[in-house]
Symmetry: C2
Subunit: 348 residues, 2 copies
């Protein structure tokens, strides 16, 4: 018998709503863990942040929210933590238990299966929360709500959250060829008119890697969250954006991405990473929103508006995103080129 | 008001088990329909089979099991059917209703949302069943059970099923580099021993496109189903296979695929398609099972054994697949190269 016990509470498990059941069972496929582990930008950023802060981790109690295979828990244990509690709802935590054991961390890491909100931790307070909770567009299917619950209930005064700062960014994108192809396809499908699909295609943001050369405007940070103070209400937002065209081109859509920052010891440069098109590949890629208009732009033309993100009422894992925009062309054919519109999207 | 009414029975919908709910809701993303429609091998085979049999379709009642966007229903209506009933559990059927309407088939196509087993068709019998029910490895998450239910309850004596013949095939595969890379990764993950992942990776068949040049044995049809006579029991099978090495190489796994055949008018060559590595791309790709051994083979060496496929007891959408094999090397180092083993897999 191993000392590492995965305290799998049948009650907790049975309490899961069925949609949650499915969500967590999808982690039973090893592929998602393979993809996340092999995302070296992601995983090494966490490791490097823990190593940079190893003086702070020394002899601390750490909570790993959504621990998965336990990689972050083992980083923390390896680099000085007194004890780490890893919590996850998925059966992958049984695998985490075996990994913790064969890697010799059974006495330093406790794994608990269940919904953090429903279980009792073996410590009343923790000094550090680590979590890789981010989803596409930062917030889609993210575990941030659970991280904030953990912060409010368990984090000691002066405790740290890894990472603790994140921001969402937007820019303009030229994507004429692919957009046209993707939309025009539905005009004639084996001789039938499938055009009612077009609004469906427009409504669904595209998660894909974007060539940075296609980004043709300035970048705009539209929102920033400090995990030490952010509240659930802050995650429902409506914020302005303003970007400026860098060349004579078309703006066919908006590209969005997020940046992440970890706490740093005093005087040290914080570990950060970006999921933007200008940065190395991550499994989050970028999220593209096609605009109803293809905006013909000249250098200096301004595209501004408002981006709103609200959980879907029917399924609060889904995000309803609205982009209102006004494109203010200057110079040649300024009136014909200027556009004003409002597009709605659903991430689901 | 359109004449095309999607008879969406709230009762039927509410009767769905939650796992089924999710399965069908996943079709709400347009991407899966885009992928299926743009699989021209798939879609054009159905269209060509209907056109080849248009004399038979003339004035017939057709049932389309799992109609999706209604493409097959519209093919049937366009090429002579008297009336088509399309049944699907997914909300995509609402889109199908709009497509049927704008393409002018409202009086020829009736769409019903629900589980075929639970709803009443407007006709006591149908002359033809069309269905694109096939899954990966032919049977994974397939709708064949519903097609057989429809056949037994609704198909007239002498009626036809499109397609009506399908078969599963197997061959040997050289994939040393990728297999080694995929398995060795887990030996050292950021300094930790993740080797307990290796059996998990081995257990999960890989759905991917395989370069036909990597297929290095003869091919073997392991099973064939005639949809006119097959029963649910026949879909649980344990069958022998025997393949012969074509070159000095390694056999690292087995590649499997399926072939499909439609009914043909007397004297005509049937429309068929294959999802094998030797055939043009389809969205089903191929399914690869890594063997525990890397078999060093010479021309003429025989690999034989037994392939068993059984629905998983806990989740009957999953398939438990077992491959028992005996590799009989001849000539140089025949004893060292000969192997006997039994591997189990789960498609989930």
């Amino acid at each position: 018998m191993s000392k590492t016990t995965v305290n799998q509470s049948a009650t907790v498990k049975e309490n899961l709503a069925d949609t949650e059941q499915h969500y967590f069972n999808s982690y039973d496929h090893y592929g998602i863990h393979e993809e996340m582990l092999q995302d070296t930008v992601r995983t090494l950023s966490y490791r490097n942040a823990i190593i940079q802060n190893k003086d702070f981790f020394k002899d601390k109690i750490v909570l790993d929210v959504g621990c998965g295979t336990g990689i972050l828990s083992m980083f923390a244990a390896k680099h000085g933590a007194k004890h780490v509690i890893g919590v996850d709802m998925s059966s992958i935590i049984e695998m985490a238990g075996r990994l913790v054991e064969i890697n010799g961390y059974s006495d330093k890491i406790t794994l608990l299966r269940g919904k953090l909100e429903d279980i009792d931790l073996p410590f009343p307070k923790v000094d550090i929360i680590i979590s890789e909770w981010m989803g596409y567009f930062l917030l889609y299917e993210s575990m941030l709500d659970t991280v904030l619950y953990a912060r409010d209930k368990y984090l000691v005064e002066g405790g740290l959250i890894f990472p603790d700062k994140c921001s969402i960014h937007v820019a303009g994108l030229e994507d004429s060829h692919y957009k046209t192809e993707k939309l025009d396809y539905w005009q004639d499908v084996y001789g039938f008119d499938y055009s009612p699909f077009i609004p469906l295609v427009m409504r669904e943001p595209i998660v894909d890697t974007v060539d940075n050369a296609a980004v043709n405007t300035s970048k705009n940070k539209i929102i920033e969250f400090d995990l030490n103070t952010v509240t659930l209400d802050d995650l429902v937002f409506s914020v302005p954006f303003k970007i400026i065209s860098k060349r004579h081109d078309y703006i066919n859509g908006l590209i969005t991405w997020f940046d992440i920052e970890f706490p740093a010891p005093k005087g040290k440069k914080a570990i950060t990473f970006s999921t933007g098109a200008h940065a190395p590949y991550t499994h989050w890629k970028q999220t593209v929103f096609y605009l109803a208009d293809d905006l013909e732009c000249e250098v200096g033309d301004v595209l501004e508006g408002q981006i709103t993100s609200i959980p879907n009422k029917r399924n609060n894992r889904d995000l309803d995103i609205t982009i209102e925009y006004e494109f203010k062309a200057e110079g040649v054919e300024k009136e014909e080129r200027s556009k004003k519109n409002k597009n709605t999207y659903i991430m689901h």
